[in-house]
């Protein structure tokens, strides 16, 4: 199975990554993808995602292992931005290629829920009065509970 798990430092083209996956697994019947971007918010000038080298990428690699055991995939891409980013820029790309549609879609859904709630990132927003740390959202934990 093709696997590409990366932390990305600068702006990147998510479509390029999806296209590359599609070319690499020509036998996959379906590719499901999700791209999360920095949302527009009048009060927020920038977003920063901090990671811890010894935990963050290893944690995502472990998540990819779990996903690969749970669904039969031909390819899995998880790319997550770190550092300072601005509105409209991609934060995360998850793309799964599989023979069957449901496997690809569920794998992306599961991966996103776990990335959002359960991965080693600390986020802060820059507002007019400086940087503010973002606390975890309750919603993220209820998303996670869906997977039993």
């Amino acid at each position: 199975m093709l696997r590409r798990i990366e932390l990305v430092q600068g702006h990147w083209d998510t479509n390029d990554a999806v296209g590359e996956l599609a070319r690499s697994v020509p036998d996959a019947g379906g590719i499901a993808s999700f791209v999360g971007k920095v949302r527009h918010d009048d009060a927020v000038e920038a977003l920063e995602l901090l990671h811890y080298e010894k935990l963050t990428l290893p944690g995502i690699q472990e998540l990819a292992e779990t996903v690969s055991r749970r669904w039969t995939l031909e390819g899995l891409v998880i790319m997550h931005r770190v550092g300072v980013m601005h509105v409209g820029e991609p934060i995360v790309l998850v793309s799964a290629a599989a023979k069957h549609r449901r496997e690809a879609i569920e794998a992306v859904d599961f991966t996103m829920d776990h990335l959002k709630s359960d991965s080693w990132f600390w986020k802060r927003e820059k507002r007019a009065d400086g940087w503010h740390w973002i606390e975890p959202r309750e919603r993220d934990h209820s998303d996670l509970a869906r997977w039993g």
């Binding site: 010894k54 935990l55 934060i91 990335l115 600390w122 986020k123 973002i134």
Partner: protein, 80 residues
Amino acid sequence: MAVKLVFLGKLADLAGADEREVPGPLDWLGLLDQLEAPLAEELRKDRTRIAVNGELVADKAALDAGDGDEVALLPPVSGG
């Protein structure tokens, strides 16, 4: 050689730095001793975790780090 403390997220703000070196060996009470009150208070919270050399410590009270170890202080994640 010493123990390297790594402060993540808002703990780095409270510590005034991303990293700090403290003398080893270091157990739980020794760590709390090394930290200013606001940091120690955050560290005592259940949701604040500790990792030694990238391995999460299940029971913080059982912390046992020596010279050359990297001890990371991890506040709750905000998610990706």
